[in-house]
Symmetry: C2
C-alpha cells in the first residue's frame, strides 16, 4: 500500500472512533486520537489538560460569540493557537506516515493532499444514545445532553475554522450511517476504499 | 434477497443515475427514473411533458418565492400536486417490488420504511463538468451553468418538501464521492450494503 491517510470525522456516539481504530489495526498503520494531545500541547505552549478539553471543541456558545470572544490585540484567541498547533501536528503526521486520524478537522487540514480518504460516520438517535449510555455509564437524559453538547461544539469549531458545514456529504469521500450498516460493514467499506 | 429498495439522490454530473442503473441490473431489480413520469402524470392529471420538466425540480427562484408562488385558494400549487402524485407513485412502487429509484425525494418519502438503502452520490467539480460536457455535448461554461441550475433547483425542491437539507450526510445511509472512488467502486460499495 502506498502512503495512505484516513481521516475520520464522526457524530458523538456513532462509533466512528472505534471503527477507525479497527481499520488502523487491520491496515497495520498508526492510529491518532488522544495520543496527539501532548504534541499539540508542546507546539502551542498550552497544557495537555487544556488541549484535551478544548481542541476540536468550541466553547459552549454560538458561532458569533465564538468569533468575537477572547481575542487579544493581534486578533488571536487561545482557540486559534490550539487550532494552529493542531494543524501543524496533523500536517507533520501526514508527511511522516500512513495513519488514521480521528476528528480535529483533519479532512479540511489535508484537503489539498492526494491519497487522503475522508470518512464521516453518523448514526441514528436510539443507537447513539444507547452507546453513550453504555460507554459513559449514564442515564438516557444525560446521554442525550452529552451528545447534543459535543456535536454542537464540534460543529461550531469545524464551521468556524473551515468555512464548510460539518456533516455535509460533499466534504467527505465517504459518509456512513453506522447504525444502519453496522460497525463491521463500515469497516469493510473503508477497507474496500483503500484497496 | 428480501425486498429491497435503493434510493439514489445525486449531484448533477456525478454519475449517480448511471451507478444506480448498473446496480439495478446487477441485482436484477427494476430501475425507476424517467419511466415513472407517465404514472405521475396520470395520478396528477398533468401532462407528462410538464412532469418531466418540473418534477423534482423547483422553478428557478429562491425557496421563499417558491413557498409563496402560484398557490390557489386551497393553498396548493401545481408543484404540490406534482409532489403529491410523485409521493403516491413512489410508495406504490416500494410496496410492489424491489427497485432502485433515482431522485424525486424518495429517501424522504420512504423514511419510515425498513430495508431502504438511501444513497447520495456527489463528486468533484472537474469530473462533473467533464461528464456533463461529454453527455450533453456542451462547452465548459454551459456545463457549469447547467450543473449550478439543476442542483439549485433539486436542492430547493428537496428542502421545501422535506424540511431537511439536501446533501447532508445524515439524511442518507451512505454518501459517496464518485470522482474520488470511481463508478465501479461506488457500485461495489452499494452491493456490499445490500448483501
Amino acid at each position: 500500500m502506498a502512503k495512505r491517510i484516513i481521516t475520520i470525522s464522526r457524530e458523538f456516539g456513532s462509533g466512528g472512533r472505534f471503527i477507525g481504530e479497527k481499520v488502523a489495526k487491520k491496515l497495520g498503520i498508526t492510529y491518532y486520537d488522544k495520543n496527539i494531545i501532548s504534541e499539540i500541547a508542546e507546539k502551542s505552549g498550552l497544557s495537555p489538560k487544556y488541549i484535551q478539553e478544548s481542541a476540536e471543541l468550541s466553547p459552549k456558545k454560538g458561532l458569533f460569540a465564538y468569533a468575537l470572544a477572547g481575542r487579544d490585540i493581534t486578533g488571536k484567541s487561545v482557540e486559534d493557537m490550539v487550532y494552529e498547533a493542531q494543524r501543524k501536528v496533523i500536517l507533520e503526521l501526514a508527511e511522516k506516515e500512513s495513519c488514521v486520524i480521528i476528528g480535529r478537522n483533519a479532512d479540511f487540514i489535508l484537503r489539498d493532499w492526494n491519497a487522503v480518504l475522508n470518512v464521516f460516520i453518523h448514526g441514528d438517535m436510539p443507537e447513539k444514545i444507547q452507546r453513550i449510555m453504555d460507554l459513559h455509564n449514564v442515564e438516557e437524559k444525560e446521554a442525550v445532553k452529552m451528545m447534543a453538547d459535543t456535536d454542537k461544539r464540534r460543529m461550531t469549531n469545524y464551521n468556524f475554522y473551515t468555512d464548510q458545514k460539518w456533516g455535509k456529504a460533499s466534504n467527505y469521500t465517504l459518509s456512513l450511517n453506522s447504525s444502519q450498516l453496522g460497525y463491521d460493514r463500515c469497516e469493510a467499506i473503508i477497507m474496500e476504499c483503500v484497496k
